[in-house]
Amino acid sequence: MRFVLRRAGFFLLTLWAAVTLNFFLPRMMPGNPAVAMMAKFRGRISGQELTTLETIFGVNSHQSLPAQYVHYLGDMATGNFGTSLFFFPSPVSQVVRTAIFWTLGLVGITTILAFALGTGVGIVAAWRRGGLTDSIAPPLLVIASAIPYFWVGMMFILIFGVKLQWLPWSGGADITATPGWSMDYVVNVLEHAILPALALLITTIGTWTLTMRNNMVTTLAEDYVRMARAKGLPSSRIMLDYAARNAVLPNLTGFAMSLGFIVGGAILIEYVFNYPGVGYMLLQAVENEDFPLMQALFLLITVAVLVAILLADIATAIFDPRTRSAQ
């Protein structure tokens, strides 16, 4: 329990750090880019919205910096992210909501798949040291980890989209299709998801395999594995219950930690495939200098990653009693 409380405290601290970064970054930059952005949109926004934006970015503000900061924290706490300038007059929170749906579907499912598959391959590779999987997979995956995510996406578009014309490569669904739970639409959405999902899967699976293999190699050398062998337990039981169970624990934390990287890669994959998720929207916001939307998306992504880390911490505490007493 104390462990979980500590982690929850860390969660809040990090969240506060991210919000504070959001607050100070535009103010630290020479010439406050937000001021230039506001000037550009001046004629088009009015009254209430303008005031909110001004407090968020400290434009035209007669308040002192600390007062602005307190005001800003209040706005963030109540979910008042201001108005999107690009999707004007929708409030940012509403614009973001539709994007989350797409990203959760694509990135969420793909990440879990990559973790499960990668860990599985890692277990087999470590169990059969020097076997076929072990000699082919690791070097291949090392090289794969050096390939930029977005470039894999581009190559997929080139090969399976443009050349072979097997699958669609742009958007979350056909523009002509009507959204709903009809069979046609679901199939359409799935078709659009295949290429980006594969690109994401291929580029992220390597990390899991390698770390799992290396952890597993270490646990296989432990005395309790020797003991299990001496007792004559079936191989599969030693592999999964003794070695893999202990090897996956550091990977669980790693899984949460590297979520930040995965989200980053997913941003680029969404961008390349014009997939209407959070990442694509973030880059659109950047391109259009829609800073309120950009800030809100950054916070959203940070919160998502932090929640995942918290969950992984709790899971580790459940599966590994040592962490509970250690700190």
Binding site: R129, P148, W151, M154, V286, E289, F291, F298, I309
Partner: protein
């Protein structure tokens, strides 16, 4: 010398080192290989590959081969710059935390953890968006600022394991200052870890810098692989079938990244004998396996 022999004896390390050496050579003497000006927009647009233009030309009429060759320098400068700087900061923060212990350790460690979990790439995007059209120096600064935390954590735990060694106690008794102990006594013992950390950081610098340039957050007029990809995407080169404009720079990034990754992986094997290929150990494990199957 020992270092070179270690690289020579490991296939992955040799491959990585040769790849890296080729790129460094290209970056130092690009004029030896490419005879066209990489920025000159003087050729017919979107030409296919030919003897004149090995990889064809871009949508703006530049020679793709010349761009790829001249682009090497920028990428390498970023990789080495951000890789070294991030490793250095990590070493200072991580080792200082471990050495000082107590309150300062908690503070520095907490700071490291916070930086570690804030998602890196979105943060990079946000910073770059405010900076606008960041050049090489800004890119290095931003990548360094966001990329040191993982290494700091690693180095801290390594330094913690050294804390009670006799040579440190001796230095303390001699009355050496903290910075002297850290730089002269502790850091040299962690050379292999520092090299591995540098390789990882350099790899991430290459990938992140290229990604930022690709989405248009670098200097669009610079000659670099990421910028080449940006223009290829902007001109819809793939959809139009001019695939070399995207394949060439992406392939270069992958090769350079692979060089760093292979060297790093090999370093893991050199530093951690348990991970080395098993040929020699098999004899020892066999009897136990037979035991478990019986």
């Amino acid at each position: 010398m020992r270092f070179l022999r270690a690289i020579g004896s490991n296939g992955k390390a040799t491959t990585g080192a040769i790849l890296l050496a080729v790129f460094v050579f290209l970056a130092l003497f690009p004029g030896l290989f490419a005879h066209d000006d990489p920025t000159a927009e003087i050729y017919p647009k979107n030409l296919g590959p030919s003897a004149q233009h090995l990889f064809g030309t871009t949508g703006l009429g530049q020679d793709v081969f010349a761009q790829a060759v001249y682009g090497t320098r920028e990428v390498l400068v970023i990789a080495f710059g951000a890789g070294l700087a991030a490793t250095l900061i990590a070493a200072v923060i991580g080792v200082t935390a471990a050495y000082l212990g107590g309150f300062w350790d908690s503070v520095l460690n907490l700071f490291t953890d916070v930086v570690l979990v804030i998602p890196l790439f979105p943060l990079l995007i946000v910073i770059s968006a405010y900076v606008q059209n960041s050049g090489t120096v800004v890119l290095i600064a931003v990548l360094t600022f966001t990329g040191w935390s993982y290494t700091a954590r690693q180095l801290r735990s390594q330094a913690l394991s050294l804390r009670n060694r006799d040579f440190l106690a001796a230095a303390k008794v001699r009355g050496e200052r903290a910075w002297y102990v850290i730089t002269v006594e502790i850091l040299p013992t962690m050379i292999s870890l520092l090299v591995a950390a540098f390789l990882t950081n350099a790899l991430y610098a290459v990938l992140f810098a290229s990604s930022l340039q690709f989405i248009g957050l670098g200097d669009p007029n610079a000659t670099s692989w990421g910028t080449m990809l940006y223009w290829a995407q902007n001109n819809e080169a793939l959809q139009a079938g001019y695939y070399l404009q995207a394949v060439v720079p992406g392939g270069c990034i992958a090769l350079l990244g692979a060089a760093f990754a292979l060297l790093n992986y090999a370093f893991d094997e050199i530093g951690n004998p348990a991970l080395r290929p098993v040929r020699r150990r098999r004899a020892r494990i066999r009897p136990l396996e037979r035991l478990s199957r019986a």
